[in-house]
């Protein structure tokens, strides 16, 4: 009971402190306005409208995409951008001073001299920061919920999935900011170091994605050569089953076609596929370990990009996003010599790879990192002399 009272007291004081800043209201107003963006975008049968002006974009017309799916997609795009970048940065700027203000000379003694555990004080401040962010996300999502409903997209309850996802995402950064606040006792330093850390995570995600791209493209080259060999084997067996001395014109035509295809495939294999495979195997000998190393590093760090992509993924699972048609045939692999198809396959492979990463892996490992960071912060805060 006493613990609960102390936590509520610190949360109450934190919220008053945040509400007292102009940035708090500015952030809420901006989030509200951003949430109303769907009001400016309408959907007609054959396109969309922007502030009432028709834009000929048949891909998004209600004849092609259901309004609910269209607006779900719109929310995932606007939401991902607004909540990931703008709202999170505003949230960090607003809350980065919570701990440095708490542990400033003359302030911290007042708190720690009360019968409250230091860990409770610190974690309550952390929770206060998350509540601030929750307020922002709620305002944005509620505004979007009603804006989309008014625009005819229906009242999509799944939009509120943004709340837990964004909060988890923000908590990764906020926990790091908390630790920096404890270590540096400076608002500016903790904010800058957190943004730097965020940038590092973003960079790591890009490096890992690029590494995965190269690994996938090399894999595809090897797989293509193997598939051509398999196909060749099948064609050769097919050729062998044809009667050797047949006077049947159809059989002869088939034989010539098969021979021609086999010759083309053998030539393609020899001049293109095999050299590419050898090169790919050489490349993979260092590319794969390098990628695995980056992935291992990424595994122990918070996965901010993947966490936010869960919003799009969850909306897609709820039928609120357009899924691309899966068109991969072995024949097109063998016959297409330019890189366009290969690029498409690599992209698809990447999407598959990212989609296969489980929620448990994304959130579990990220939350483990957060727990570790919070533990260090609590330990340092508890042992520090003020």
């Amino acid at each position: 009971m006493m613990l609960l009272r102390q936590v509520m007291t610190i949360l109450w004081e934190t919220q008053i402190g945040l509400r007292n800043k102009k940035l708090f209201w500015l952030t809420l107003i901006l989030s509200f306005l951003a949430g109303l963006i769907p009001l400016a975008i309408g959907q007609t049968e054959y396109g969309i409208t922007l502030f009432g002006f028709d834009l000929e974009e048949a891909t998004f017309g209600s004849a092609v995409v259901e309004p609910k799916v269209f607006y779900g997609l719109l929310f995932s795009l606007i939401g991902a951008f607004w909540l990931t970048w703008i709202a999170s940065i505003l949230g960090l700027v607003s809350t980065s001073g919570l701990v440095p203000d708490l542990i400033a000379d003359g302030s911290i003694e007042l708190t720690v001299s009360r019968p409250v555990r230091r860990t409770v004080v610190l974690l309550s401040k952390f929770l206060g920061g998350l509540l601030f962010m929750a307020g922002q996300v709620c305002v944005f999502t509620l505004a979007s919920f009603f804006a989309i409903g008014i625009q005819g997209g229906g009242f999509i309850a799944e939009l509120f999935l943004a709340l837990p996802i964004v909060l988890v995402f923000f908590s990764f950064l906020s926990s790091f900011c908390l630790l920096m606040g404890v270590l540096t006792r400076s608002t500016i330093a903790s904010l800058l170091l957190t943004i730097l850390f965020w940038f590092f995570l973003f960079l790591l995600h890009q490096v890992e994605g690029t590494g995965l791209f190269f690994v996938a493209s090399q894999d595809i080259k090897i797989e293509r050569a193997e598939r051509i060999e398999t196909q060749l084997e099948v064609r050769r067996e097919e050729l062998a089953t044809l009667p050797a001395d047949s006077n049947d014109a159809d059989i002869e035509r088939k034989r010539q076609t098969l021979v021609s295809r086999i010759e083309r495939a053998e030539q393609f294999l020899e001049t293109t596929a095999n050299p590419q495979r050898e090169s790919a195997e050489d490349n993979l000998s260092w590319l794969r370990p390098a990628h695995q190393g980056v992935l291992a590093l990424k595994t122990v760090l918070p996965k901010t990009a993947e966490t936010m992509s869960l919003l799009t993924r969850q909306l897609a699972d709820s039928g609120l996003a357009v899924e691309e048609e899966d068109d991969r045939s072995l024949e097109s692999l063998i016959t297409t010599s330019d890189g366009q198809r290969e690029m498409e396959m690599v992209s698809e492979r990447l999407e598959e790879e990212f989609a296969e990463r489980s929620v448990l892996w994304i959130l579990g490992t990220s939350l483990a990192f957060e727990f570790f960071i919070l533990s260090i912060a609590c330990w340092r805060f508890s042992r520090r002399d003020f």
Partner: protein, 310 residues
Amino acid sequence: MPTPAIDIQNARKTYRGKVEALRGVDLRVNTGEIFGLLGPNGAGKSTLVKILMTAVRPTAIEGTVLGRPVAHKPTLAQVGYLPEQHRFPTHLTAMQVLLHFASLAGIARKESRPRAQTLLKRVGIADWANKRVGSFSKGMRQRLGIANALVNDPQLVVLDEPTDGVDPVGRRDIRNLLLQLKDEGRAVFINSHLLSELELCCDRVAIMLKGELRAAGTIDELTRDQRRYDIRVSHGAESLVDVAANTSVSEPDRQVSVPTTDANEIQPIIDRARASGIVVERITPHRPSLEELFIDLVEDHTPGAKVNSP
């Protein structure tokens, strides 16, 4: 023997960099008394107070606060504290400050609100109860700090420079408040540089230098050895010196000083003076002030030279 509110032995603190702020301090503060801790800057007073308030971890310490081991968190519910240069959240009103810190001490709102109102009145800022602390003057913040130290109805009140920034009337009010607290049976521990203030209200004082207690006791006890009688005469002071032991001339031929607290011991000098036709103009019992005592003890100390708080 009175019950101790603070009873600590061998309090030591060595900061990183091997700076010894406390070098084995023994201290006892009784319930129902006002105890003053004096010392120059860097003597280790704040470190000692912060250890008692759990803001600083001691290198070593034995003993109790209100009968519980030092740093026992639940005991702090019965301790009020005013830090030096305290900083309240400026976005809170005076009333909110008191409610906030009362809640942290585990006191329910329905109990703390009337108490906060009473305390704000008691320290003279009741009219400012709903004004934000950011708009307060230094003296008002100090008054609020004292109210905050009392909001949890503590048995032990620890005040670090309680009259800092307060005008003379405010100081008198605070002094009276401290005396009331003492009368209520609470222990009051004051850390201050304003020696004249301490002299007016402290039952006992201790003087700390370089992390050690150099003197402790009542002001009477501490000044006993330096008390004297000054006898002002018209002339011939030199001729009176040999009448009593340790007598000296403190002003050329006009004043004799006798180091004693016993009036009987100066009677022979008066007799001799009368017999010699020397006019005794004035007899003054002299008790050194706390400030004189303090300066005597610290005059060879260089402030902050070796001992620094973080």
